[in-house]
Symmetry: C2
Subunit: 174 residues, 2 copies
Amino acid sequence: MNEVLKAIKERRSIRSYKPDMPSKEDLDKIIEAGRYAASAMGQQDVIFVAITDRETRDRLAEVNHDIGGFPEGMDPFYGAPAVIAVLAEKEWPLRVYDGSLALGNMMLAAHSLGLASCWVHRAKEEFEMDEFKALLKELGAEGEYEGIGHLIVGYADGEYPEAAERKEGKVFYK
Amino acid sequence: MNEVLKAIKERRSIRSYKPDMPSKEDLDKIIEAGRYAASAMGQQDVIFVAITDRETRDRLAEVNHDIGGFPEGMDPFYGAPAVIAVLAEKEWPLRVYDGSLALGNMMLAAHSLGLASCWVHRAKEEFEMDEFKALLKELGAEGEYEGIGHLIVGYADGEYPEAAERKEGKVFYK
C-alpha cells in the first residue's frame, strides 16, 4: 500500500487532545493542503481562518457549545488548541462541496504530519452571528461567507485508535 | 514534503483520457479510500456505484450531457472509461459534506496509483430520474439516495498539467 492510501486508511477523527500547540509551520502546511483541494470550475471560493489565540478559540467553543446544546462543561473542540474554520462564498452554489474537499485534504495533511484532527460542525450557525462576521471583517476577509466546518488540530491525548469497521453493502458494480 | 502532501499538491482534475480501462484492483483501492473518509457521526451514509460497463457509462454520459446543456458531441466524462458515482442517504442532513469527503479521498487515491480523475457534477439530477433509480434497485441498493458527484477515472491523455496558481487573500490568522 502506498503512503497516500495508508494515510487514508489510518487517519481517524480524534476527540481528545493534549494542550500543546502545533507549530505555525505545520498549520501552514495543513492550510496549504486545503487550498490545493479541487473546487468546482477551479473557483477557489474557500477561505481559511486559523485560530490559535486562546481567547478567540474559547469564545468560539462557547458559542459552538451553545448552538449544539451540549452538556455543561463539554468542550466541543475536545481540548484541541488550534481551530481552522473553513468558509466558502455564500453565493456559490457548490460551496458545501468545495469546502468539504478542502477539509478532507486538511485532515490527511494533519495526519501525515503526526497531528490529530477532527471536523467539528456548526460553523454555519456561528458565522451567521454578528460577532463572528465582525471577526472576519477585522481579519480582512471581504465578502459574504458561509461556514462549512472547523478542523480542530493538535496532538492526540491517549492512544491513536484504529479505524472503525466499514459497513457492508455500500459498493456496487455495473 | 511527505508523500501525502506531495500528492495533494500534484493532483489535478484531468479532462482528457485514453480509452484504456483501469484495473479492477485499482478501482477497488479507490473505492476503499472513499469508504474510509470521515463521515458525520461515523454514519457511513455514502454508497459507491462503479460503472465500467460501456453501455451504462455512455447512457449516463448522454443524460449528464443533456442536463448540463453542453454542446453537441461533447462527452461530459471526457473519454474516461470508468465512472464511480457517489451517492448518500437522502434523509441524512450532512450527506453533501460526507459524499464530498469520500470523493476527495478517491481523487487522491487515484493520483497515488498513477491514475487521473475528475469530479463531474449533475449526479443529483441523474439519480432523481426513474431510469437511474431503477439501476440502483437492480444493483441491490436499498433505500433513497441523493447523487453527490461522479469521479471519472482513467489514464490521462497528454501531459499531466501543473496545478493552477492559488488565489491570494484566502488565509487569515487570529
